[in-house]
């Protein structure tokens, strides 16, 4: 056996399980397992204060982006879920919720829509004035730029007269790493 072959054999012998798994699958302590020295995926979980709603018929930003900002550092594959409850002061007013992401300065509450629209969630009518119904929307940003902060926000659209609003919102974001 050569020196190099002996070295490799010794390394594998030190952790036999390494020969049975790939790095991303290896349990902790096994040669090849992800360690604290590797670059893990970025994560974020935010429960923003209930934002001021809007009666706008064109849609306005809710202003979550000041808190809901994540900087990808590994793959740029960012899984975003925003959930909560949506309502309107008038039960018959259609309320539309949009999931937006963007880079640069995050928009404030009440700002005009900006960034990239990712999803559209429509609630045509509610059971009563001011009633809320659950919502949840998920999107995978497949190619976010590494090192560039990405803000996440909602935009809300009503009928121009009656105030639509969202409450009890939670935003979870995870960069998916193999």
């Amino acid at each position: 056996m050569t020196r190099w072959a002996a070295l490799i054999a010794a390394l594998l012998a030190a952790s036999p399980a390494a020969a049975q798994c790939l790095g991303f699958q290896c349990p902790p302590g096994v040669l090849g397992a992800r360690t604290s020295g590797d670059t893990p995926g970025a994560t974020l979980v935010v429960s923003p204060a209930n934002p001021t709603g809007t009666a706008s018929a064109v849609g306005l930003m809710m202003g979550f982006g000041g808190q809901a900002t994540i900087t990808p550092k590994s793959t740029g594959k960012v899984l975003v879920t925003m959930s909560g409850a949506v309502g309107n002061a008038l039960s018959t007013a259609t309320t539309t919720l949009y999931l937006y992401t963007g880079t640069g300065t995050a928009p404030a509450n009440g700002a005009a829509v900006t960034g990239t629209q990712r999803t559209t969630t429509l609630t045509t009518r509610f059971v009563c004035n001011g009633c809320y119904t659950p919502y949840s929307t998920t999107f995978l940003v497949a190619n976010a730029a590494l090192g560039t902060p990405l803000w996440i926000d909602a935009a809300l659209k009503s009928d121009g007269t009656n105030i639509g609003s969202i409450v009890s919102n939670f935003i979870t974001v995870a960069e998916i790493v193999p």
């Binding site: 790095g23 992800r34 793959t75």
Partner: protein
């Protein structure tokens, strides 16, 4: 020969490190609004054969976390509509056909009634396929069921799927006994036949989604669903609130008594490696009327 052996050995070592790991598969598609159906048998929407088909080919672990969200409605307000997630291999189904042989129903989400004819409400459904075959394309589709007469439809659908490493959990608990409790009680998912318990193995970062449908026996009573997690002995159904409350998602009022509407809630928990973490729902009503949750699915993945 020595050099060849050396190169092969080093390549084998490099392959076993995370830095050279094969990336997991991922998919995000916003299908065109499909043609709805009045069928009282679930029919496929055909997302797998659209311009950008909802087909993912597992590359590494075969653990595929799927979420489909959008809005659902029915031409008749009082008609029950049920939304299903299907997955399968082979040729994906077209719009309007029954799920092909070999496909599997992953989730079932009932919407008892909508507020008006052709009204839409939000829905979101998540499922973790734990054993997809690496290298074999997996199609993902929605199916819809109505009452045999009135057309149910979904609009603005978005399908996301990611292949994940690490510890995972995918459980569809038996429908739990509901509650009238005003402070709320636990549903007991952690002590069912397949308990909703996950033990972190590497990072402790656990992404949890719980979804299903919520109702109340009295339409004017609010029902709230909370996502709880904890360590130690998991609570039984009806137990007092325990563990950490992570999210809350409420419906202020329902279209009719005992009508169901969709709920879905997601949270990221930091657990301790090696320490089992239970996941449960807490349900709350007004102290008088019975709140219930049905068709629940709990998915959890450990992020790297």
């Amino acid at each position: 020969m020595k050099r060849l052996a050396l190169i092969c050995g080093l390549l084998a070592l490099l392959w076993s490190t995370a830095a050279f790991a094969v990336p997991g598969a991922s998919l995000v598609v916003s299908p065109t609004n499909p043609t709805g159906t009045a069928s009282s048998t679930a029919l496929m929407m055909g997302f797998g054969v659209q311009g950008t088909p909802t087909i993912i080919t597992p590359q590494t672990t075969g653990k595929i976390l799927i979420t489909i969200s959008g809005s659902v409605g029915n031409a008749l307000a009082t008609a029950t509509t049920t939304v299903y997630i299907f997955t399968g291999t082979g040729a994906p189904p077209v719009n309007g056909v029954v799920g092909p042989g070999g496909s599997a129903v992953r989730t079932s989400l009932p919407i008892s009634r909508v507020v008006c004819n052709s009204c839409y409400v939000p829905f979101s459904s998540t499922y973790l396929v734990t054993n997809a075959v690496v290298g074999v394309p997996l199609w993902i589709d929605l199916a819809l069921r109505s009452d045999g007469t009135n057309v149910a439809s979904v609009i603005n659908p978005v399908v996301t799927a990611v292949e994940v490493p690490g510890a995972v959990l995918s459980v569809s608990p038996t429908n739990p006994t509901g509650t009238t409790s005003a402070p709320g009680v636990m549903m007991g998912y952690g002590v069912q036949g397949t308990p909703t318990i996950i033990t972190p193995q590497s990072t402790g970062k656990i992404l949890i989604t719980m979804n299903g449908a919520v109702s109340n026996a009295v339409s004017t009573t609010a029902s709230s669903v909370y996502l709880h997690t904890g360590t130690g002995a998991p609570p039984a159904n009806g137990a007092a609130s325990t563990g950490a409350q992570n999210t809350n998602q409420g419906a202020t009022r329902f279209v009719c008594n005992s009508c169901y509407i969709p709920y879905s809630t997601t949270f990221l928990v930091t657990g301790t490696v090696g320490v089992p973490l239970w996941i449960d729902a807490k349900l709350r009503s007004d102290g008088v009327s019975l709140a219930t949750v049905v068709s629940n699915v709990v998915s959890a993945v450990e992020l790297q």
